[in-house]
Each structure stands twice: as C-alpha cells, then as structure tokens.
C-alpha cells in the first residue's frame, strides 16, 4: 500500500496492510514531527507533495524491496498540517526473516528522504516560516 493522506495516519492499519500468516517479522518506521529544529522552537508543521510523482516513486520503491528482498511493504505519508508529536510518515516492511525487514524499511525511509517529492514547512515560535532544507546535501550529491 502506498498512500498520501491529509488525515492522521492509522499506524495499526499500515501494519495490517503488510502482515500475513507467512510473515515472521515486521519492521515499522514512524517519523514524528518534533517541537524543535535548527535550535528553534517549532509551533507547527505542514507537508506539501507533488502527489502523482511521489506516489509513482513510492510504488516503485515498494516493488524494488519486494523484488530484492521478498519483502511486503507499505508507505503512508501525511500532507497538510501535522500537529507536533503526530506521525508524518509510517513505513512497514514484513518478511519471513527479520534481517530483510530491517534492511527494506531502512532503505525505504532513506530513499524517501532522498528522492520523493515531498517538502516540509516549519512554523517557528518566533513567527518565521521556512521550507526545511534537511535534505539539501543529499540532493546536491546525486
């Protein structure tokens, strides 16, 4: 399952989307919004996505971990305003062997942060608003 949603992410539902009687281990990564960034207090966050392209790339990544490691994976990313402490992204990877589940889940979040066209905008308590540049270096080094 690959999804971009404006609603709160139902973690249990993401896990269930990859679980199955054959699975031995599921690794789940949950990205949560933080109350600080660059040493400043964050009041709120929002995410923007180039949705059709983001979905295409995420579906390709999910196929890739399936072909490489036999892992069944799901990625759900939230867009719009995300309250502090709530999940912005949930990735689940299920496999008969935990090694593959861990590898696939790590690969998916690393690739997501590197190439999936989604942007975070932080509203700081001092009133400033900024597009996050957290992935600047990775993109430049491609």
């Amino acid at each position: 399952m690959v999804k971009i949603t404006k609603s709160k992410i139902d973690i249990q539902q993401v896990i269930e989307s990859v679980a199955g009687l054959q699975s031995g281990g599921i690794d789940v990564f949950i990205g949560t919004t933080r109350n600080h960034s660059q040493g400043k207090k964050v009041r709120g966050l929002e995410y923007e996505a180039y949705e059709p392209m983001a979905v295409n790339i995420m579906e390709r990544l999910v196929r890739q971990v399936n072909e490489t490691w036999g892992v069944r994976a799901s990625i759900v990313h939230r867009v719009g305003s995300v309250p502090i402490g709530e999940s912005s992204v949930v990735i689940a990877a299920a496999s008969a062997h935990r090694d593959e589940a861990f590898k696939a889940c790590r690969f998916l979040i690393d690739e997501l942060k590197r190439v999936v066209p989604i942007w975070k905008r932080e509203h700081f308590e001092d009133g400033t608003v900024e597009w996050s540049r957290q992935s600047h270096e990775q993109v430049e080094s491609q």
């Binding site: 066209p117 942007w119 996050s132 430049e140």
Partner: protein, 81 residues
C-alpha cells in the same frame, strides 16, 4: 511548444505561482525552464545547483529535450519523512 510548469516549495514562493502554461521553442531542453525562472526572479540563480527537474513525473537531466504538452516540475531539495 506548450509546457505546463509546476512549482513546489521554495520555487513556488520565489515565482509567486504554483502552476502556469508557458511557451517554449522547438528543441528547447529542460534547462530552459530554469532560465525562464531566473528571468522571473534573479534569486532563482542561487538555486540552480540544488533544484532537480521532472518531466511527466520522472526525474530528468537538465538537457532532456522538451516536447509539446510536457508537464515540467521544478523540484527543490526534498524534505519529506
């Protein structure tokens, strides 16, 4: 050629719009979009090295040839997750 230009994040803020139809010349490459944006706002110059371009939902190199009807997206450094 008629191109649909889509801007996101900082690129959208610098240009002041998120989507626009723009005419390009036959034979223009994707980088023509970056020149077009620099013409709108000189501050785009400092972003050239970090911005990537996508044509019809796929990343392309700057010398990818444009075709009539293409959707060209300007992708600033991503920060999802």
């Amino acid at each position: 050629m008629n191109i649909t230009l889509k801007l996101f994040s900082i690129a959208k803020d610098l240009a002041g719009f998120d989507e626009r139809q723009v005419q390009f010349n036959e034979g223009d490459r994707a980088e023509a979009v970056l020149r077009h944006l620099a013409g709108l706002n000189p501050r785009f110059e400092q972003w050239h090295s970090s911005v990537r371009l996508a044509v019809n939902l796929e990343y392309v190199s700057n010398n990818h040839p444009l075709q009539d009807g293409d959707e060209v997206a300007v992708i600033p450094p991503v920060s999802g997750g």
